[in-house]
Amino acid sequence: MSSYADEDPGSFPRGFGYGPDENDTDIQAVATEQKPRILLMGLPRSGKSSIQKVVFHKVSPNETLFLESTNKIVKEDISNSSFVQFQIWDLPGQFNPMDANFDPENIFGGCGAIIFVIDAQDEYMNALTKLHTTVAKAFKINPDIKFEVFIHKVDGLSDDHKIEAQRDIHQRASDNLTDEGLENLRLRYFFYLTSIYDHSIFEAFSKVVQKLIPQLSVLENLLNILTTHSGIEKAFLFDVVSKIYIATDISPVDMQSYELCCDMIDVVNDVSYIYGTKEDGAFDSQSASTIKLNNGTILYLREVNRYLALVCILREDSFDKQGVIDYNFLCFRQAIHEVFEVRQRGQLVTSGEFNQPNGIIK
C-alpha cells in the first residue's frame, strides 16, 4: 500500500476519521466531509433497507417484513456511534442512475463502494440489467469505485441452489461486461451470499468495510504477529456496535467461529449494560471477558478502545500462559494506537516502513 495521505480522495478520503477514541468531537469534525460512502442499490424489495436496519440498527430480521418502501435516499452516518467511519446511503430501488434529477455525479462521485443487492429468490434478470447500467454509469463518473454484489435472501435456498445462483449471476454479470468492453471491471466485482437471518450479512459487510480502511494491511499484519506469538487460533478486531470485523489474521474465516465471536460480543455488551454503573454501559477500554467452551476452546475478549474489541479463539492449553497473552495484547493495543496516531499527526506512513511493534514475547 502506498502512502494513504496521497491517495485519491475519491476512493480513500484522507480524513478517514480514525482518531483516539477519547475525543469524539474531533472525530466528528474530521469526519464530516470526507467519509467514505457506501451506496446500497438494487431493485425494489431486494432487501436494501432491511440490510441497513439489521446491521446498523439491531432490528430483528422478522421486523423487516414490515418496513415501508424507501422513497428517498436515506443517509446514515456510522461515525457517530462507532469507531468505523463511513456513510451508508440507502437508495430507493426505483432510483435510476441515468436520471439527472438525482445528480448521479454527486452520488457516485464521492462514493467508495456500491453494494448491489440482488434478490436470489426472485427472477434476477432485471436486477442484472440494472446492475450493468449502474456499474457502467458509476464507473464513468468514478473509476475508483468498488462493486460488491450481495446475492441476498439465500436463507430460502438449498446449498446447491446457492452455489448455482452465485455461479450463474457471476457468469452473466461478467458476460455483460465483456459485451460492453469493460472486461477489466470484472476483477472489481465481488460476490457474496447473504441473508439477514444469519451472520452472513455481517460477514459480507465486514469485507466491504475492510476494503475502505487504508490501514487494513497494517492491522492484519499486527493480528498475524499477535496470533502466531500467542498461540491464538483465530483473532478478530471487531467494531463493537455493528459487529463488523474490521480486520482478522491470515487464517481462513469460518462462519461458525465468526458467529461465536459475534455472540460473545453481545453477551459482554449486555452484561455490561445490565451491571455497568455508567449511563452508557460499562464498556470501556478496560473491559475483558473469558468464556470457556466445553470442547476445550476458549473465547477471549479484550477491549482495544471504546469502539474496538479484539476477540480471540484459542485452545485451552494455550491459555495457560495468560500473562504472556495479556502482555502481547498490550503491545498490540499500543501498536494500534500508534497506527491511528500516525494519521493524527498527519505523517506519511507506508506499511512497509512501519515500525514493527516491538517487544512481542515469543
Binding site: 422478522n62 414490515f66 430507493p92 429468490q121
Partner: protein, 538 residues
C-alpha cells in the same frame, strides 16, 4: 389561479408518478372548449405526453397503483371564462409543463425531506416553478409498511402568490387529505379485522414460503380500491377545482401605484358602503330622487344612461371646449362657483349636453365633494346637491335667486332655433347666461388659478391635464386634511394660530372658502381616523 394541482404517488414499481392533474385553461390559450373539443383534448391527453426523457417512456406501462382516470373531467366556470381540466397528465400541447410537474413530483416524493412524514413543504425556483407539496400516507393493508406514500403538489411560477396562498392552501389540502385518510383508514380496519396481515406475513416467512410471500403477485392497488370509493377522482377533481377557484378569488393582484388618492379611497368607500348598505347618500343614484314623476319609459332610459358617465379624458376635453365657448371671464365665474361649493344649476332643454357639462365641472373638485343631480324636473335644495341639471320648463322657487346666497344659475338657449346641435358636446350652439345673487371675491382660489392656467396651455394633452388635476386636487386635499386635523385636535384655537397654520400650508385668504368646502369631501375613513386619534389624546 394559474397553478397546477397534482396528486402524486410513490409507486412500488415505478417510483414517483404523477397520477392526476388539475389545470385551469383560459380561453385565450384555447377558445372556449365545447364538449367535443374538451373530450378530444382529454383523449389526447391519455396518451403519454410527448417528450423524449426516459421517464416518459417508462410511464407507458403504468400499474394499477399509478392509474387514475382514463379520460378525465372538465369543469367550466362561466363567470370567469376558465375551464378546469383534470386528467392523468397535464396538457400534452405543453410538454415543458409535464416535465416541470414530473420534476416537482419527483422532488416532492423522493427528494425533499418533510419533518415528520406528513405535512406541507415549499421548494422550487424561478426556472422549475415553485411548489407547495403536501405529503401524506394512506393505509394499505397489502402494502409494505402497511401504507403508501402520496403527495399533493400545487405548482405555480409566482412565488409570492403561492406563499401568500399558503394559509389558505394548507388547511384545505389537509381537509381533503384527512377525508382520503379517513376512507382508507376504514377500509384498512375492515380488511385488517378479516385477515390480519402482520400474522400472515410472519407465518409465511416462518414457513419458508418465500416465493409466495414475495410482492410479485400482489400488484399495487389503486386509490379507488384503497378508499373503496368509485368516485374518488371526481371528489378530487371537484376539490382541486374549488381550491384553484377559491384561491384565486382570495387574492387578486392589483398594480399598486403609490398610495391611494383621496378620490380612490372615496371610490372604495362607496363600494364598501354599497355592500353594507349603510350610507344612502352614496348608494342612491342621484336622479332617482327627481325622477319620481317621469314616465316609466323615460325612467328606464334615464337609468340606462346614468350608468355611463363620460371618461375622464372626455370630460377634460369638454372642459376645454367650455372654456373656449364661454370665454375666460365667464368660465372663470362658473368654475369659481364650482370650486367653492356653490350650487350650480344648469337649465336647458338638452339634457345630455347638460350632463356632459356637469360631468366636466365635477372634474374640478374632489369626488367626495360632488353631489350631483344630473337631471331633474324641479329644483332640488342645495344641501341635496351642488350640481343640478334642470329641464327648460322647470321653474325656480322665487326665494332662490333672491335670498339663497350661494347659487349660480346658468341658462342655456339655442342660438339659432334651426341650428340644432348634432352632438351632445356641441357647446357652441348654445347661448349661456349666468346669474348669481352672490358676489364672489375678486381673487379666485389659488388652485383654480392654476387649473385655468393649465387648461389654457394647449401643449398639455388631455392625459397630462388629467394627471395635473389629480395632483392639484390631492395637494389641496392634503392641506384640507391638515386643517381638519387642526380643528378637531381640540383645545382652544386662537385666530392667530389659524392664521399661522394657513400661512404654513401656503393658503391665502381667497382659499378659505375652498378649504372649507373641500373638508366635506374627506373620506369617512380619514374622518374616523382623526376623530378616534384626537379622542384618544384627551
Amino acid at each position: 389561479m394559474n397553478a397546477i394541482i397534482a396528486l402524486c404517488h410513490f409507486c412500488e414499481g415505478h417510483g414517483p408518478q404523477v397520477m392526476f392533474c388539475t389545470q385551469p385553461t383560459h380561453p385565450k390559450e384555447q377558445t372556449e372548449l365545447s364538449h367535443e373539443e374538451a373530450s378530444a383534448l382529454l383523449s389526447n391527453r391519455v396518451r403519454s405526453p410527448s417528450g423524449d426523457s426516459p421517464v416518459s417512456s417508462k410511464s407507458e406501462h403504468t400499474c394499477e397503483g399509478c392509474y387514475s382516470v382514463k379520460t378525465g373531467f372538465v369543469s367550466h366556470d362561466n363567470d370567469a371564462p376558465i375551464s378546469y381540466i383534470s386528467s392523468k397528465y397535464p396538457n400534452p400541447t405543453q410538454p415543458e409543463i409535464y416535465s416541470l410537474v414530473r420534476n416537482a413530483c419527483l422532488r416532492s416524493l423522493s427528494g425533499e425531506v418533510c419533518p415528520g412524514n406528513e405535512g406541507a413543504i415549499f421548494f422550487g425556483n424561478d426556472q422549475q416553478g415553485h411548489v407547495l407539496s403536501y405529503t401524506f400516507q394512506l393505509k394499505d393493508n397489502l402494502a409494505r409498511g402497511f401504507q403508501r406514500k402520496y403527495s399533493i403538489i400545487v405548482m405555480m411560477m409566482d412565488k409570492i402568490y403561492l406563499l401568500n396562498s399558503w394559509p389558505f392552501l394548507v388547511p384545505h389540502l389537509k381537509l381533503l387529505i384527512e377525508h382520503l385518510q379517513g376512507k382508507a383508514g376504514k377500509v384498512y380496519e375492515s380488511e385488517q379485522s378479516k385477515c390480519p396481515q402482520r400474522a400472515v406475513r410472519l407465518k409465511s416467512s416462518m414457513a419458508g414460503n418465500f416465493l409466495q410471500q414475495r410482492g410479485g403477485n400482489n400488484p399495487a392497488r389503486s386509490i379507488t380500491e384503497l378508499t373503496k370509493d368509485k368516485n374518488i377522482f371526481k371528489i378530487l377533481h371537484v376539490a382541486f377545482v374549488w381550491i384553484l377557484k377559491a384561491c384565486s378569488n382570495r387574492i387578486t393582484e392589483t398594480l399598486l401605484e403609490g398610495p391611494p388618492t383621496e378620490d380612490s379611497i372615496i371610490d372604495m368607500e362607496k363600494q364598501e358602503e354599497t355592500e353594507e348598505g349603510f350610507i344612502k347618500l352614496f348608494t342612491k343614484p342621484a336622479n332617482e330622487v327627481s325622477d319620481g314623476d317621469t314616465t316609466p319609459s323615460a325612467e328606464e332610459k334615464e337609468i340606462a344612461d346614468i350608468d355611463t358617465p363620460p371618461s375622464e379624458l372626455d370630460s377634460i376635453h369638454n372642459l376645454r371646449l367650455l372654456l373656449k365657448v364661454l370665454g375666460e371671464s365667464n368660465f372663470h365665474l362658473l368654475t369659481h362657483h364650482v370650486v367653492i361649493g356653490n350650487q350650480v344649476i344648469i337649465r336647458g332643454s338638452y339634457k345630455e349636453t347638460i350632463k356632459l357639462i356637469l360631468h366636466a365641472l365635477m372634474m374640478l373638485v374632489p369626488k367626495g365633494c360632488c353631489r350631483p343631480i344630473l337631471h331633474s324636473n324641479d329644483y332640488q335644495e342645495s344641501f341635496r346637491c351642488n350640481f343640478l341639471g334642470l329641464t327648460a320648463d322647470s321653474s325656480l322657487p322665487s326665494h332662490i335667486l333672491s335670498s339663497e346666497m350661494f347659487v349660480l344659475l346658468v341658462e342655456m338657449h339655442l342660438k339659432d332655433e334651426n341650428d340644432k346641435p348634432l352632438n351632445d358636446n356641441d357647446f357652441d350652439k348654445f347661448e349661456y347666461s349666468m346669474a348669481s345673487p352672490t358676489r364672489l371675491l375678486d381673487k379666485a382660489p389659488t388652485v383654480l388659478q392654476k387649473i385655468e392656467h393649465a387648461l389654457k396651455n394647449e401643449r398639455f394633452s388631455n392625459g397630462v391635464m388629467e394627471q395635473c388635476l389629480i395632483c392639484l386636487k390631492e395637494e389641496w386635499m392634503n392641506k384640507v386634511k391638515v386643517l381638519y386635523k387642526f380643528t378637531k385636535a381640540g383645545g382652544s384655537i386662537s385666530e392667530v394660530d389659524t392664521q399661522n397654520l394657513l400661512h404654513v400650508v401656503e393658503a391665502k385668504a381667497e382659499d378659505k372658502p375652498l378649504l372649507q368646502f373641500w373638508t366635506s369631501g374627506l373620506s369617512v375613513s380619514y374622518r374616523n381616523h382623526i376623530l378616534t386619534t384626537s379622542k384618544a389624546q384627551h
